[in-house]
Amino acid sequence: MTLRVENLTCWRGKQALFDRLSFTLEPKKLLLVEGSNGCGKTTLLKILAGLRPPTSGLVTWQQTPLDAMTEEYNTHLKWLGHDNGMSRHLSVIENLRINANLFACEAKGIETVLHQIGLKPFQDTLVKHLSAGMKRRLALARLMLGHSSLWILDEPQTSLDKAGVALFESLTSEFLDQGGSVVIASHQPLGIAPNYIQRLNLSACH
């Protein structure tokens, strides 16, 4: 389940975000993408997820290029963007049920997931009434639904409180132990065992 990137280049307007970037992400590894604001972290993550084509370069998952097998790649991938992906008019439990349905995994997992992230008491409140931290926890809960082997997370710890960050770190380490690989774009320090971490600094390649 290796993700390989070969001389990836991306331009935004008149400015090169990154240029001839190459790396591989092995299972049980966490790629930490660092860099100043606006240096293209989100764009890189979108390219890795297949949401956006690069200007040039190739991204392959198990030796097959991304755009050749999007739906198969999506079964392994879990994506977390800036916005949480939870629709505001639905309650917590309904959102989780829809996401479980989308990723075709069994519904009974929802109860344990709800319990794990501590949103059990807020099960029936609408998402628009939740605080930003709770919305982020709900988005993190989605990562645990069903099985996946690649997480791509864009600043996952934003608006999380201390307990939330600790929860997130335990989740990620557990996922890494099971052989998953993770790509994270973040500023805050990450409390994960350094042997997992593989750093990539985007501001360096200007």
Partner: protein, 224 residues
Amino acid sequence: MADFSFFILMQREFKIASRSVQQFLLPISFFSLVVLLFPLGLNPSPQLLQTIAPGILWVAALLAILLSLDNLFREDYEDGFLELLVLSPRPLALLLAGKVAGQWLIIILPLLLIASLFGIFLGLPNHSLGTLLISLLIGTPCLMLIGAIAAALTVGLQQSSVLITLLLLPLYLPVLIFGSSAVQHASTGLSSNPQLYMLSSLLILTLTLAPLAMSAAIKISLSQ
């Protein structure tokens, strides 16, 4: 347990609609207001109204659907749910088709009731009301599906409602022409079958092609 992709988003639309009722009352009230304008704008003599009634009802239905298109994908785009749909293992075309079908089912029932009511107000003979309802039943899904393509193309842009109107009016013409002339023929006692057959062939064409174009358009809008 996993449902058929088509119905996942349809149920979701019903739940959302049940919570924010305002969202689907808007097209209906817009429809009635537009129809109300014409008798006030022109003189309310029955003969004049009867001849132009089919055109008024169909143009009003078209504009009501055009209005409801802007926030078809807007909220999901802002919530980030569209990204999840694109990155889910299920076929995107079917998911989006389910979503548009949900929106259509929510709008169509009240629209048919109000349209027949205003049909009577505008003096349409009773036997042509049936054709009016059938033509709306066949025509409005066409409008929704073609409109969804334009909505998908413009979801990432700022003031997209003007752009959607410009994109859609040329594409809406065939449906409007056959729809209103079906009702016109029925009100003058002629058979309106040819128009209804044409409308259903347009419906089948859009049913097959529109979801593909929609999913390609959504992927492009999200790749900005």
